[in-house]
Amino acid sequence: MTEQRGHITLSELQGRIESAVTSALPLPLWVCAEIAEMKVNYSGHCYLELVEKSDDASNGTATAQARGVIWRTAWPGVESRFRRENGTPLAVGMKILVKALVTYHRLYGLSLQITDIDPSYTLGDMERRRRMTVEMLQRDGVWDLNRSLPMPEVVQRIAVVSSATAAGLRDFLRQTERSPYAFRIELFEAVMQGTASSDSIADALAAIAEREQEFDAVAIIRGGGGASDLSCYDSYMLASAVAQFPLPVITGIGHDKDISVTDMVANTMLKTPTAVAVWLNDRAAAFDAGIEAAAARLNESCIRLTHIQSLRLQSLALRCGSAAGARISSARTGAEMLEKSLKRFAESALQREEKRLDSCASITANFAPQRLMRLGFGIARMHGKALRSTEGLHKGDVFELEMCDGTVSAEITGIGMGKES
């Protein structure tokens, strides 16, 4: 037998809770919480799942949870103000400060009817998280790593991290195709916004890192469409992966407000995907112009050099010609002088010989017997032999005396002594 105890109905219980809640919390309160889930239904109401997490780093466990709703009468105003002031829409993972009236419904239980959200609270929280990320990267010593990588003079092989359907990617591809320079672009698909994007982009980067040698740089591009949740670009995980990436990273994330931490650590930060394409084209063009200028300078210096050398050759040729001329003329003068002196020498030698012969002839002529005899000398001969001395001659000897015009016979009548004997 079941004992009948005093009891109340469920609706009575819920009614009591409802009145307790209403009397305990009669006015709206400002409550801070994190968005765990969020959806706007067909009728235009926004339903939220709000949580509070324990402080142990990022993956803290929920310590409190409540449902929230923003009726369609309030939602457009709240949403647009938030987006205008923070540059980003409300998104899962954000900490928000809401003005809420606590209500209790007999059927649906406890719910927070949100009438307002303070955008500056979220902004401050986002800013605080950004600062923390920056500080952690600096403490890790990776802050400057990607920015200190040298960017190649010409960036031609580009690994693009983007979503295949993004309008920004289409802009980027259209712009690069228009360029006169050839770019080799390979897409590594990733989710580019929302909570999953941080892991997704990091996975794409890891896939590129495996083929590092095949690329000059990485471009992370996103863009187009309305405002979206870009808080992933401030996440420590993604910014750290970009900072330590072995290839220079170019960002073109396409946000209108503050630059993200990922932008700060990237080698080159640009506003939009189109800006990335323009930058690539300009860099190639600058290099091309450099080559053109170098070629022009080379050409110029070649011309100058050959001109200088040809002038030098001309002057050398002139000098050579005049030197040779001088040399020839001096040689000719020398030769003429030599010829003259040779002639003089030969003549004087001949004359000398002539004189010598003359003198020989006159000496010889002096000794000619005919001349001597004409001068009165005679040749005494005995037995055909010329007499040169009185020696051996005797009185009565007969001898012959030859004179210029004839011969006489004579007899020695006496011998006298001459001076010589």
Binding site: E339, A346, T364, F367, P369, Q370
Partner: protein, 63 residues
């Protein structure tokens, strides 16, 4: 006989004439020989002169 040999013989003859070595009978022979040699030398000299003139003339036209 070269000019030098002829000249040497002339000098020799003159020397023998001047120091009175030769007797009177060889005198006319020596004088004759010397005259002959002198004539030879003269003709050689003339030829040499012509040769020199010709060579110098040739040099000039060769230039």
């Amino acid at each position: 006989m070269t000019y030098g040999e002829a000249m040497a013989e002339i000098e020799e003859i003159i020397a023998s004439l001047e120091n009175g070595e030769a007797d009177i009978d060889s005198l006319s022979v020596r004088v004759g020989r010397a005259s002959e040699l002198i004539a030879l030398c003269r003709s050689r000299l003339r030829k040499a002169e012509e040769e020199v003139k010709r060579v110098l003339e040739e040099n000039r036209t060769e230039e």
